[in-house]
């Protein structure tokens, strides 16, 4: 149960402060080292320089938002495709034993290939643009979602399935009323893992696709040509924070709204 009131607000603020503190300490020490002249190499810019850069990129012409929105668009399309396809294929394989025995081993072979290694294949087949990146995002999320959907449905209590069957449920009804709720914990784990993989695949795909000019991955890659270490740091910061925000914001919210609310998961 979430408690609303000054106390929960205080503890929330406290945990935020506890989370931010280590970064402040690291940045502070680093800043001191640079200011004191112990670190002079331009390859190690001071945190203040990085923040100023972040500010200039985020305001004015707003290049940063263009990069970020392009990335998020690709992520949304690719991830939506992978969630749809993963849930569908996972359900199919979990419910059809012969199909599962045919394809599950192939799936585990394909999982072992780093998503980024498929990018050259897509570059050859789909060209150097958006489609390749979206395909990489799709593939990044797809396996984790499929795998966890299969596992979740397999773990549904056999008795519940039998009871539903006796009472005449089958096919889509059985899926919606018994299998889906029963496997939701695992499916959400898959969705959560999936968005992490998809996010990483997105950044890698953007770096490798030559014909796209916007995106967070591209921003870092372009910085390489100017040896612009400051821009690289800004890019890495954005990637870390956005990845975290996607996980905590979107997927945690989804978990709270479903399985925690329905009491299927004790908060740990």
């Amino acid at each position: 149960m979430r408690r609303v009131g000054p106390r929960s607000w205080m503890s929330h603020a406290y945990s935020v402060a506890e989370f931010v503190l280590p970064f402040l300490i690291i940045a502070g020490l680093w800043e001191l080292l640079v200011r004191a002249g112990a670190v002079t190499s331009p390859s190690f810019p001071a945190p203040s320089t990085i923040l100023v850069k972040l500010w200039t990129l985020a305001t004015g012409r707003g290049v940063l938002w263009k990069h970020l929105s392009e990335s998020l668009y690709r992520l949304a399309v690719g991830y939506a495709l992978s969630a749809g396809a993963g849930l569908l294929l996972g359900t199919l394989l979990a419910m059809q034993r012969t199909l599962r025995e045919m394809f599950a081993p192939i799936l585990s072979l394909l999982i072992s290939v780093p998503t980024i290694a498929w990018v050259p294949v897509f570059l050859i087949i789909l060209g150097l643009g958006d489609r390749t990146v979206i395909m990489a995002v799709f593939l990044g999320g797809f396996f984790a979602i499929t795998y966890n959907t299969i596992r979740g449905i397999e773990m549904v209590d056999e008795n519940h399935v039998r009871a539903a069957r006796i009472m005449g449920a089958s096919g889509p009804r059985l899926f919606a009323a018994v299998l889906l709720p029963g496997s939701l914990v695992s499916i959400l784990t898959g969705l959560r893992l999936g968005i992490g993989y998809a996010w990483r695949a997105l950044v890698g795909g953007e770096m490798l696709s030559a014909m796209i000019s916007w995106g967070i991955g591209k921003m870092i890659y372009q910085a390489r040509f100017w040896n612009d270490v400051v821009a690289m740091f800004v890019g890495l910061m954005i990637i870390g924070v956005s990845g975290l925000a996607l996980d905590r914001g979107l997927l945690r919210w989804l978990e709270r709204a479903t399985i925690e609310k329905w009491g299927m998961l004790t908060e740990g």
Partner: protein, 260 residues
């Protein structure tokens, strides 16, 4: 039963390969882009034999990648276990590094690579460093969780009976946390493998499977690209079966910590 389990997956694989080969032969698909099983085989064999009296190009690529993965995994594992133990036993260290790890973990290795290229240059130093970092996070995280799960009664008992801190660590903490540590190792090494291949795409000077695939893609030698991916699958599969299986059998299985 296991007979059926072995044979069934071969059906779609065989159908797929035959279909691929036939559509390429009859030029229903563009063989320059999609290649074909026989072309892949030919390209890989050529890559193996071309430089042969001195060295096989293919094996040198594979060897370079495996060597990098090995070194990176070694460094990352040692650092990860030490970091995990520190985080698991000391509250302040944990509170400090928990947020740092949480933010740094979702950053893919390939995105860190440009920075390390500037610091360390192209080639092994960058690839191994980024690989080691990728290995470190999951191992440290899981080791810390494992160490924290240790029953404090056991620790107190051991200390009372005169065990030193190092002694307690080795004979109480590590066996107890072994399950966690092992799943950390699995995750960490898998990540190490992926990261090394990915970073080789942009940071390798001349060798490595990642470099081989990327180089072939730039010249649209699709046979080598597909062949490289096939090799990635087979090598990973072999390593996983050989390494992780053996370690599990020797430790937590033998100690009866998982159901077999």
């Amino acid at each position: 039963m296991s007979y059926r389990k072995l044979l069934l997956p071969l059906v779609p694989i065989a159908l797929f390969l035959v279909g691929w080969e036939l559509t390429a032969r009859f030029e229903l698909i563009n063989a320059a882009l999609f290649s074909s099983p026989s072309r892949i085989w030919r390209d890989l064999v050529t890559l193996h034999t071309r430089g042969l009296p001195e060295r096989s190009l293919l094996l040198t690529h594979i060897g370079a990648s495996l060597w990098r993965v090995f070194i990176a995994a070694l460094i990352g594992t040692i650092a990860g276990v030490i970091g995990g133990v520190l985080m698991g036993t000391n509250r302040y260290i944990r509170r400090f590094f928990d947020p740092v790890i949480t933010v740094l973990m979702p950053i893919p290795g390939i995105a860190q690579a440009p920075l390390f290229i500037i610091w360390l240059g192209f080639g092994d130093p960058t690839i191994i460093t980024v690989g080691a970092i990728a290995t470190f996070f999951p191992i440290a995280y899981n080791t810390a969780a494992g160490v924290r799960s240790v029953d404090q009664q056991l620790v107190r008992a051991a200390r009372t009976m005169g065990a030193s801190w190092a002694n307690t660590l080795i004979s109480v903490y590590l066996p107890w946390a072994a399950g966690y540590v092992l799943s950390g190792l699995k995750l960490g090494w898998a990540r190490c493998w992926r990261t090394v291949i990915a970073v080789e795409f942009i940071a390798a000077a001349s060798w490595g499977l990642g470099f081989m695939i990327w180089d072939a893609a730039e010249y649209i030698r699709s046979g080598v690209v597909y062949g490289g991916i096939l090799l990635l699958m087979l090598i990973y599969f072999a390593i996983e079966k050989a390494l992780i299986g053996t370690i599990e059998a020797r430790t937590i299985r033998r100690w009866g910590m998982v159901r077999t």
